[in-house]
């Protein structure tokens, strides 16, 4: 959880890179004049993409651009679990533990992470390659349990395929995105059953 007083002493204050400054301007321009407040979320996302996390210094930068008080930025940045307030691993596992995923075995996913990486939610590996976090519903309930790593979703996870996924990521191998069981779209896991058996 974020602490009140500013980022650890010695860390340089956050500043958008020149490219991102241009990007920030174009984000701001998407909103009508006087509604720049609405740019807070995309700007926070931009800051997180640049720095890997949003600390108070980054929040101040976003506050400055949107004309909002920094505390308002702190409120949204802590409301959405997708924003992180400290550096995370290269592969940051956001494990959904909401109802659908939990019923479909998110505990197994967490167990796989613990066994393979020795990490519990909130943990980060010493080599900085992996970190784990629990998150709210990812909106992928149809293929539960689901995990988000960076910008990608991995679905239909089991203990075994989670372990396999971790190993591949560690080895830098190519991974399959989306369903890990080869399910296409959100088709029934038991195969096509609807209308099956009916005379055509």
């Amino acid at each position: 959880m974020i602490e009140t007083n500013t980022a650890a002493a010695g860390t340089a204050p956050f500043a958008f890179t020149p490219e991102n400054q241009a990007e920030a301007r174009s984000i701001l321009a998407r909103y009508p004049k006087g509604r720049e407040h609405s740019a807070a979320l995309p700007l926070l996302d931009l800051a997180q993409r640049q720095q890997g996390y949003v600390d108070r210094s980054a929040m101040e930068a976003v506050a400055g651009l949107t004309g909002l008080a920094p505390i308002r930025i702190l409120e949204v940045a802590t409301f959405y679990t997708m924003f992180r307030h400290a550096p995370v691993g290269e592969h940051h596992f956001e494990v959904c533990t909401n109802i659908s995923c939990w019923l479909r075995g998110s505990d197994e996913v967490l167990r796989a992470l613990r066994d393979e990486l020795g990490l519990d939610p909130g943990g980060k590996s010493d080599d900085g390659k992996f970190s784990v976090q629990e998150c709210e519903c990812l909106g992928a309930c149809v293929n539960a349990p689901a995990v988000r790593v960076g910008d990608h979703y991995f679905e239909d996870l089991t203990y075994d395929n989670t372990v396999a996924l971790i190993r591949k990521l560690r080895a830098g191998e190519k991974v399959v995105l989306g369903s890990q069981t080869g399910r296409v779209g959100s088709a029934n896991a038991a195969g096509a059953t609807a209308l099956a058996g009916r005379a055509s």
């Binding site: 009140t4 007083n5 500013t6 008080a69 505390i71 679990t81």
Partner: protein
């Protein structure tokens, strides 16, 4: 106006009113936590759930539900009661139930509602969620485990104080109230947070664990710490003032007071003059003496000065009208024209009442649409009044411009610069666009601060402001927007009474000089400490005498030869006139310490010692005399608009010399607040943040 029934009672409520407000009209109180009359509607606590027909078959939050024609509302049905029970149960899930050690106990909304709707036992078996306390400065204690997340405090900061300092961060059961910066809240209205918090999450820090609310004697009084004349309640026990709270007064302070007005109280116990002091001869040390002895020394030393000693009186910022009346009569008896209630040298003109009143009235600011500040910083001089201006600006209803020091007023201001002569001329000539803003406004206001008047050319500034008001139509049929913002509670009363130099009389500055140079023999200071007393300390020529009457041993008493103990305003029933011209009376809450007396009595004793006994046998006599001098002073509580027309101020050039702030340090403006440790802690907390405010904190 939609008609509806609430619990069977037919009600007609204004369009746009909520069900909760309509119920209030019908005299039905619906329990609530997050709803607060003066804050925006959040609808997040769910305590106000009621049953409504027609509508979905579930309870509705009455604080956020607008009334409709034909609605039927049930505030006490099975469904409504069950809903409240559920809400309370959820609220208590993470609440520590530590009422026995909570300062809010006895005046806590959660406690009251739990008595009504709570269960005897909890069904919750898990661990409670606990939160760390935050440092919100010297005035507020936090106990965030008790927080019910109503966000009243967040909304108060945003919408009333104008400083978005607090937020609710996190989500779900991890929600907590968080300041962006710990250590201090950058507002002069912080104390009000304790009043808006419905539970014991934010409590009064200096008052912590001092008393239970039911042990306190409550005295309705008027605040004298600034010139607004806010309604307050003094809570005391065993002759000690323990707490001050605002009272509801829509015309003046609504339900807020500034931090100095609330938290100066420990200053009432420090540096008190509880016995007379005197220097037997010139240059001798001050010695504590009896009243008889003090008055005897006074008489002897004055007699030594010759037959007809020249006497002058300077009144301080908190001097009540009874004292001023006695002092004025003393001057009359002595044939002295030397009296002044403007110790700071403000060039206020006592001859025209409209020239020194806040004519727009404080409530009138709710209509103001264009405001020009001349040498005034309302945030420091009258923070509660500033909150009204902030509200207008925030709602986009008023534009504000300023001639003066560019300080943060919590709202955007058009700066006209701090070169008074030039800026006033530009407005007068219409070359600055704000002149047109004022001219075309429906209810324009010009606020003249003491910073503009306490200078050589103060009278010329006053005149120029008046001229501008006429030229731009600031005073028109049914509206007088010319308003002088005062910082001294006793000032308007003094001017109403004519406590200013008579013919050939000396003003405050001249009296101080004259005493130094030998043309004045006796100078009486009525709680006057806010001027440069070094001229009095260093007077070398003769045996001229300084007599100080007041409550605290401050700058004035230090240079005095005779010090007579008076009462602080919480210790007397006395009359003051607010800056709008409202004559108001305080009510004595505690008695003055030791041998201290009401100040008018001290003046009467001095008069007798000088051989001019005043014809007053009781305070009623003094009040009768006061009303005889100015009949307006006999009408309490009401406002009498002052007629406009007569010229005031003096024509002349306004210099380019910048205005200086009238209140450089909000927390210390008088002997009482200077004696207060709490006020000192506020100053320290604020100075700390300013030092750190480099880097990214900006």
């Amino acid at each position: 106006m939609p008609k509806l029934t609430i619990d069977g009672i037919p009600v007609e409520a204004p369009e746009g009113a909520t069900v909760l407000q309509a119920a209030e009209l019908a005299g039905i109180e619906i329990p609530r936590f997050c709803y607060h009359e003066r804050l925006s509607i959040a609808g997040n606590c769910r305590m106000c759930l009621v049953e409504v027909k027609p509508g979905p078959p579930k309870p509705a939050a009455s604080c956020a539900l607008p009334v409709c024609e034909g609605m039927e509302v049930f505030t006490n049905s099975e469904m409504a009661r069950a809903a409240r029970k559920g809400t309370i149960e959820f609220m208590l899930v993470n609440h520590p139930l530590d009422c026995p050690i909570c300062d809010q106990g006895g005046e806590c909304d959660l406690q009251d509602e739990t008595v009504l709707y709570g269960e005897a036992a909890s069904r919750f078996r898990e661990d409670k969620h606990a939160f760390a306390d935050k440092d919100l400065g010297p005035l507020i204690n936090t106990r965030f485990t008790r927080c019910i997340h109503c966000t009243r405090c967040v909304r108060f900061c945003d919408e009333i104080a104008g400083v978005p300092a607090l937020g609710m961060i996190g989500r779900g059961s991890s929600c907590e109230i968080m300041p962006w910066e710990e250590g201090v809240l950058q507002t002069e209205l912080a104390g009000n947070l304790v009043d808006v918090c419905p539970v014991g999450s934010l409590t009064n820090r200096p008052f912590a664990f001092r008393a239970r609310s039911w042990e306190l004697t409550k005295t309705d009084s008027i605040d004298i710490m600034d010139a607004m004349g806010s309604s307050v309640r003094i809570d005391s026990r065993s002759n000690e003032v323990l707490r001050i709270l605002p009272r509801l007064n829509d015309a003046v302070n609504e339900e807020w007071i500034g931090d100095r007005s609330r938290h100066f109280i420990d200053g009432l116990l420090e540096r008190r003059l509880d016995t007379p002091w005197a220097r037997v001869t010139r240059g001798a040390a001050l010695r504590s003496v009896s009243w008889e002895k003090a008055l005897e020394i006074l008489r002897e030393r004055v007699e030594a000065l010759g037959d007809a000693p020249k006497v002058g009186v300077i009144a301080g910022d908190q001097t009540d009208l009874e004292t001023l009346t006695a002092a004025k009569d003393l001057c009359a008896a002595l044939g002295s024209p030397n009296m002044d209630c403007r110790q700071d040298g403000a060039r206020l003109d006592a001859s025209v009442r409209a020239g020194y009143l806040f004519n727009a009235t404080i409530e009138g600011l709710d209509q103001a649409d264009a405001i020009l500040l001349i040498g005034s910083d309302p945030r420091k001089e009258a923070p509660v009044l500033n909150a009204r201006i902030f509200r207008r600006v925030r709602n986009g209803q008023a534009a504000v411009a300023r001639i003066g020091v560019p300080t943060d007023l919590t709202y955007p201001v058009t700066e006209l610069g701090n070169t008074p002569g030039e800026a006033l001329a530009a407005l007068r000539a219409g070359t600055h666009p704000f002149a047109e803003v004022l001219r075309s406004a429906k209810h324009p206001v010009i606020i003249v601060g003491q910073g503009a008047l306490r200078r050589e050319d103060g009278a010329a500034v006053l005149n120029a402001a008046r001229d501008l008001a006429d030229a731009l139509g600031v005073v028109r049929e049914g509206w007088n927007g010319f308003s002088v913002l005062h910082t001294a509670a006793g000032r308007v009363g003094g001017l109403d009474l004519g406590f200013v130099p008579g013919k050939d009389g000396l003003d405050a500055g001249a009296m101080v000089q004259a005493l130094g140079s030998g043309s004045l023999d006796v100078l009486i200071l009525l709680g006057a400490d806010e001027f440069d007393t070094s001229a009095l300390a260093n007077r070398s020529t003769r045996d001229a005498l300084v007599v100080y009457i007041g409550s605290h041993g401050d700058a004035g008493a230090a240079v005095a030869d005779i010090v007579l103990p008076g009462s602080a305003w919480t210790e007397k029933t006395a009359t003051w006139v607010s800056m709008e011209g409202r004559v108001q009376r305080t009510l004595r809450a505690v008695s003055a310490p030791g041998a201290a007396v009401e100040d008018w009595v001290a003046v009467a004793r001095v008069a007798r010692a000088l051989g001019h006994a005043l014809p007053f046998s009781s305070v009623e006599d003094v009040r009768a005399r006061m009303a005889a001098i100015n009949p307006l002073l006999g009408t309490l509580w009401t406002l009498t608009p002052a007629p406009w027309g007569a010229p005031f101020g003096t024509e002349g050039a306004v210099s380019a010399e910048p205005f200086t702030p009238a209140v450089p340090n909000y927390y210390m403006t008088c002997p009482i607040s200077r004696a207060s440790r709490t006020m000192a802690a506020c100053v320290e907390a604020l100075s700390g943040t300013e030092d750190e405010r480099t880097g990214t904190d900006g």
